[in-house]
Amino acid sequence: MAEGELPMATSTNNNRPKILILGTLSGGYRGADSVGQEHLEYPPNTYILPVMSAAIFPETFYMRAFERGFDGIIVMFSGTDCPYKGAPERTAEIINKTYELMKERKLDLNRLRLAAICTVCVRPFIEEVHKMEQLLDEIGKLPHPLPP
């Protein structure tokens, strides 16, 4: 189809749940590229940001992302294959701390997932996204503003 013939994006789709994926360059971000290379489909309401190491994000970052409008977050790191010593453990620790904050705010803990995705983990990537998608279909978007 020529460019001019393409349908325009006409709605902002602001009402669909949004999923943030933080993909490490040595894990999930490259995994997402591998999924693309195989032309496998997953829902478009997923926004993947490249990160060098997920250990930089404190728990407040995740809570803020929920407040700002993300309904689900998947951290896709390379788990025990992470090239940065100490970073996967730290990431897991922060996610656990974030769960505490989520409990306090009565958020479903499944809205935040930590997944080990390697650079060629095509199927696990798709499964993670579908799992989150399914969950959001069931429990819906987060209310905004979030309950205190």
């Binding site: 393409l6 994006a9 006409t10 997402a32 404190p58 993300f70 294959d81 730290r90």
Partner: protein
């Protein structure tokens, strides 16, 4: 080189007023949306994306283009930088891993700092995965590009970290991979120190008989390599040596080495008598325990360095050998020496060890007739325990079974895990062809011997390897196939039977028929495991993978580099490889070292932690959690006569892991180029209620 403070007497620095921030440059952002032929443009309405971004604050120009990576595409960017004063660039295109360098160079050519460009992946992560939803794909592209613009507003020029580099490399391990690495580095004009923990060079290859795929004897091959290494004046070799302490970073590692003495002079001329006099008998590791050796030994004649050594662990100091020692040729009071070297880079070539079956695994350790493939190699070797004759219990082997995949491709709940709880689920890659190679050698020497090859899959994957399978078939080797659920059973035949052992196989080639193979000998084709290098992992901060082999940063794009800049991997330390692959990896490792050190200066990505000294409270949390040695420390500063502590980063030791960032409750640390603020701005941009989609012209 970054400034280093003397730890024993930390200097007190005067903390002046924060320097006047340079008058903030107003971001002038250029946005470029690539159609990638039609790879992106057939799904994403790129023109609409470009239009949607056009009126966003700070965006000065916004284009869609058929091929941004083409010369005209790049010219569009460089012209905009020069003519429209663009000082930040956001490109939506294919994968960042394909063209990041292309665009960085284009931006730099136009005089802009190359780190003032941000790349959004619109092909692999949008058009190629949402092709049935073009509208949604276009909306996603717009939001991701908005995030790119939000990041671009905050981008700052960065400079690579530049460090002085020693033109000297360390190679750890003297197997084929280490030797090849050392040779290639030295031939490029750098100095090399090679450290080998055993007293002899050559690694495992010295133990094999004839090697695939060339059919050369392993010793001939090794000899050639060793002669080249010895002839290279820039290579210094230390055997019996280990790295025990390290400090520093790429360009300038300080390495502390401990070397065991040999205990015997090289020109000692009564070697045989001294060995005969030694009363100690221990299993000979070179022959995988098939024979014993003394506490004065030499693994094989012609080894390098030549001459025997004292095995200090087992020597009882009985001094019987001294009877033959004139002129203090043998010195049982010799002690280890320790010394330091400074090197710019390190190649780890510590190799592998064969999988050791658990006691009783397929009869191993229980029945002497069950041996491993490395043991078979020693039986076939001319200087092995039987002088190259395939004999067992004093007579020629008439029938043998070779069982593949022992210690490789293991499955949870079927196989016994290693002490770390993991089974070896990887393929060891070399054993299939090595087994068929051995089968063909046996057939050549003993054509009457019956050979059963019991496999799960045969993976003769390399050039010329399949020929070994074809030849084995022609030689009459009988192939049987087992599935992992039905591991072959190995047990003794009834007393007085013609053959002493039986192997029961549920053979999938005959639809699961149970077949008993009567044999004299059972050979387990054991897989490869990494040599234990926990000490080096700790010393260099490198990482093992799940399979325990050392991990590269990325298997395809940075195949021999570790996450620690300046430390590279060569050969089977990184995973199962044959000799050819080990040498290829070694050549790659050597070229990485040469590129890194060749100019006497190293450049590293600037993605390291940076402290905001105004926000830092000096509580030291970051120092406590930092997994790298000497990457962050507290230093004492003073202001208006008051002393206080602040964190200071040594960029060369920081790998940007970001652990400190999430720990600092004052948000006083960021990783340059990957700031938390940037991510927050990107989150805001993606989730914003954007009116931009309405009323955008097509």
């Amino acid at each position: 080189m970054p400034e280093q403070s003397d730890k024993s007497n930390p200097p007190e620095k005067e903390l002046g007023l924060a320097p006047d921030p340079s008058p903030e440059e107003e971001p002038r952002i250029g946005v470029y949306v690539c159609n990638c032929g039609g790879n992106i443009g057939d799904v994403v309405n790129c023109k609409q994306v470009a239009e949607a971004l056009r009126n966003i604050p700070n965006v000065v120009t916004s284009h869609s283009n058929m091929f941004m990576c083409s010369d005209p595409g790049q010219k569009l960017i460089t012209d905009d930088i020069k003519e429209k004063g663009i000082n930040r660039v956001v490109i939506g295109a294919c994968s960042i891993f394909l063209h990041e360098q292309t665009f960085r160079q284009a931006v730099e050519r136009a005089g802009l700092n190359p780190y003032l460009y941000y790349h959004v992946g619109l092909r692999e992560q949008d058009s190629w995965v949402h092709y049935n939803h073009p509208e949604d794909a276009t909306e996603k592209a717009i939001r991701l590009m908005l995030a790119g613009v939000a990041k671009a507003r905050k981008m700052e020029p960065l400079e690579p970290v530049r460090l002085q580099a020693e033109k000297h490399a360390l190679v750890i391990g003297g197997g084929v991979a280490g030797l090849r690495t050392a040779l290639d580095i030295a031939r490029s004009g750098l100095k090399v120190t090679l450290v080998e923990k055993s007293h002899f060079l050559g690694g495992r290859v010295a133990q094999w008989e004839r090697v695939f795929p060339t059919g050369e004897t392993a010793r001939t091959l090794l000899q050639r390599l060793l002669e080249q290494v010895q002839a290279e004046p820039d290579i210094t070799i230390h055997t019996g040596a280990k790295v025990v302490k390290t400090k520093g970073y790429v360009g300038n590692f300080q390495i502390h080495i401990r070397q065991q003495p040999r205990g015997i002079k090289a020109d000692f001329d009564a070697v045989d008598q001294a060995i005969a006099a030694c009363p100690v008998e221990i299993p000979d590791e070179f022959n995988y325990g098939l024979k014993t050796r003394k506490a004065i030994y030499q693994p094989y004649s012609g080894c390098y360095p030549a001459g025997p050594v004292v095995d200090w662990e087992h020597c009882t100091h009985c001094e019987k050998c001294l009877e033959f020692s004139h002129n203090h040729d043998i010195n049982l009071d010799d002690t280890p020496i320790e010394f330091d070297i400074n090197v710019g880079a390190v190649a780890v070539a510590t190799g592998f060890r064969p999988y050791e079956p658990f006691p009783g695994e397929m009869g191993y350790g229980k029945f002497p007739e069950v041996i491993t493939l490395p043991q078979l190699e020693r039986l076939l070797a001319a200087d092995g325990p039987t002088g190259g004759k395939l004999e067992w219990n004093g007579r020629s082997v008439r029938s043998l079974a070779m069982i593949h995949c022992v210690g490789s491709r293991q499955v949870d709940d079927v196989h016994q895990p290693q002490p770390d709880g993991q089974v070896n689920n990887y393929c060891s890659r070399v054993c299939c062809t090595a087994t068929l190679n051995a089968a063909n050698i046996i057939h050549e020497r003993l054509p009457e011997t019956r050979i059963y090859d019991v496999y799960t899959d045969i993976r003769t994957y390399g050039r010329g390897h399949e020929d070994y399978y074809t030849l084995a078939s022609k030689n009459g080797v009988t192939f049987l196939r087992y599935f992992v659920e039905d591991i072959p059973e190995v047990y003794p035949a009834e007393k007085g039977s013609y053959y002493s052992m039986l192997v029961k196989v549920k053979d999938q080639l005959t639809w699961g028929e149970e077949i008993e193979l009567p044999v004299d000998l059972v050979v387990l084709a054991v897989g490869m495991m990494p040599n234990p290098v926990d000490d080096l992992i700790g010393l260099f901060n490198i990482t093992p993978g799940n399979d325990r082999f050392l991990l590269e940063v990325h298997p395809k794009l940075s195949p021999v580099e570790t996450s620690v800049v300046g430390i590279v991997l060569a050969g089977t330390a990184q995973g199962p490889m044959n000799i050819q692959e080990s040498c290829t990896a070694a050549a790659a490792a050597a070229s990485k070292v040469v590129v890194l050190l060749g100019r006497g200066q190293v450049e590293m990505e600037p993605y390291v932690a940076q402290i905001d000294i105004e926000r830092c409270q000096g509580n030291g949390d970051c120092v406590r959690v930092c997994p790298q040695e000497d990457a962050i420390k507290l230093e004492t500063f003073s202001k208006n006569g008051t002393s206080f502590q602040r964190a200071v980063v040594t960029p060369a030791n920081c790998n940007g892991c970001g652990v400190c960032v999430s720990t600092c409750s004052h948000r006083a640390i960021d990783v340059l180029g990957w700031r938390l603020d940037d991510y927050e701005a990107m989150v805001d941009a993606i989730t914003a209620e954007i009116p931009v989609l309405e009323g955008v012209p097509a």
